[in-house]
């Protein structure tokens, strides 16, 4: 409910009877320096305005409780659980007396009532007609409802969880001053990574202003660019002690952080709502200390391991390649490059030899053939006879067989062993007296001629 604006305030109270002008301006806007409202006019209008505010159930923590037990009305200050906002509440003593256990300061209560403007002192207070303490059961039930609400909004969804940086530049730590949780986180982190840098915030982690201070601390760390992870740590405590860590405002602040948040609240069984919205939940502060930084020794060992494996792999590879190369170069093809050339040369040699063999055989055969034919020629030829002293007479190309073929004057060719003579025929020779044909006439052929005719 917002306080009434001074300008444009409520309409003037009813019109005055009989149309006479009201003794003072009808609306606040009509007021002026010369014609102002008296205090009572404002108060009266304020009272009317406030009366119109509806009743409501309000929850908060009792910050102060009026000591005077005599007065009929009890005054108390109700403070918001999460914000630095308080409310003056008045209620009848009987209302408090009706409670089985009178509430004490710090108790969480829920009240029902309406705003009331007490004109005489111009004070605004919340008139409570009912007041009940908020029991632990009720509180837990409410926390579950809150958990489901945040879950429904998706604030606890796993895909929202951010991964923690492998090695944060600076680790933000929100924890109680000089608390066990603080030393646990610092000791464990430094044991793993001695060079880790912390920025520690020590807000109240319990009581009335815990939530607001923690939210402020969270936001300061979130704003610091160097802080790359924030640890929210608190040692063990009762359920009430851990209540601030289930506060809706804190949870929303955590989920609003851009920097990943690690929650390490209480011991293993404790499970405040902030665990759900944090990016990583650790069961204890010690756990968180270990979780945010890598283990220097383990990392160094891993790097050395990789280096030796790389070196061995490389050496292995080089050896393998060298072996393969030597196998290749040892191949006969490379070792004896001339072999293929020689092999081909031999082949050509063989072809050439065969060619020669064939041609010599062929020529030899032809030689033998010619010699054979020549032998036949000589055998058929007159040479041997001539050698024995005979001669061959030819007329032209024909061999002379009869005297008739060579009449006197005919050109003759007489071949003897060593050559040939040219001669001319003197005609038929007169036969010697012995065979009686001396007259040289042609009348009777000579015995030689007759013999010659018979043999042809």
């Amino acid at each position: 409910m917002t306080p009434p604006a001074t300008a444009g305030g409520p309409a003037a109270s009813g019109t005055s009877a009989g149309g006479r002008p009201a003794p003072f301006p009808a609306t606040a806007a009509d007021t002026s320096r010369e014609n102002p409202w008296p205090v009572r006019a404002l108060a009266q209008r304020m009272a009317q305005y406030v009366d119109r505010a509806p009743a409501a159930w309000i929850e908060g923590q009792i910050a102060q409780l009026g000591r005077s037990s005599a007065a009929a009305t009890v005054f108390l200050t109700l403070r918001d659980a999460a914000a630095d906002i308080s409310l003056q509440v008045t209620c009848a003593r009987s209302t408090l007396a009706a409670l089985p256990v009178p509430p004490t300061e710090g108790a969480r209560v829920v009240v029902h009532g309406r705003f009331e403007f007490y004109a005489p002192r111009g004070s605004l207070s919340f008139r409570a007609d009912e007041l009940h303490p908020v029991g632990l059961g009720e509180l837990l039930a409410r926390l579950e409802r809150l958990r489901r609400l945040l879950a429904a909004e998706g604030l606890t969804a796993p895909e929202r969880k951010r991964r923690l940086p492998f090695l944060p530049h600076t680790v933000g730590l929100v924890t109680g001053k000089a608390s066990a949780a603080e030393s646990d986180v610092l000791a464990n982190a430094r044991a793993r990574w001695p060079a880790v840098r912390f920025r520690v915030e020590n807000p109240a982690v319990q009581g009335l202003s815990a939530v607001t201070q923690m939210i402020a601390a969270l936001q300061r760390l979130d704003a610091d660019p160097h802080v790359e992870v924030i640890v929210l740590a608190r040692g063990g405590g009762s359920t009430e002690d851990l209540l601030p860590f289930s506060d809706e405002a804190l949870c929303r602040a955590v989920s609003a952080c851009r920097t990943p948040v690690v929650s390490a609240i209480g011991h293993e069984p404790d499970h405040p709502i902030v665990d759900d919205v944090a990016d990583v939940r650790c069961s204890t502060p010690t756990d968180a200390g270990k979780r945010v930084v890598p283990d220097a020794r383990a990392e160094a060992a891993a790097v050395d391991g990789l280096r030796t494996r790389a070196r061995r792999a490389l050496a292995g590879w080089v050896d393998g390649e060298a072996a393969r190369l030597s196998r290749l170069t040892a191949a006969t093809v490379l070792a004896d490059p001339l072999a293929p050339v020689e092999r081909r040369a031999d082949e050509i040699g063989r072809w050439r030899d065969r060619g020669r063999a064939v041609i010599t055989a062929r020529i030899d055969r032809d030689d033998r053939d010619v010699a054979h034919r020549r032998a036949q020629l000589t055998a058929l030829g007159p040479a041997a006879t001539l050698a024995r002293g005979y001669a061959v007479v030819q007329v032209g190309h024909l061999v002379l067989r009869s005297v008739d073929e060579a009449p006197a004057g005919a050109q003759l060719r007489i071949r003897v062993a060593d050559g040939a003579l040219a001669a001319r025929s003197l005609g038929t020779e007169q036969p010697d007296p012995v065979d009686g044909t001396a007259d040289g006439g042609p009348a009777a052929p000579t015995r030689a001629a007759r013999r010659a005719r018979r043999t042809t």
Binding site: P337, V341, R344, I348, W351, G355, V358
Partner: protein, 79 residues
Amino acid sequence: MSNRAAATDGSGTGPDPATYEHARDELAQVVARLEAGGLGLDESLALWERGEHLARICTRFLDGARQRVEAALARADED
């Protein structure tokens, strides 16, 4: 097999083959035809001369190859 053998029509040697393989193939053909026989004297002589010519060409190819190898080996020994 290239039909280069037909070029040896007895009228002298045909064109020189471009590669060692062509020369060797033709040489093989020439020898085969010679061995088959049935040729005139002149034709046989011409064919035989072609064979010798081809053999010389092959040998020249192989000598060239041998030199290249030896040159390469010499270079290899240097570096």
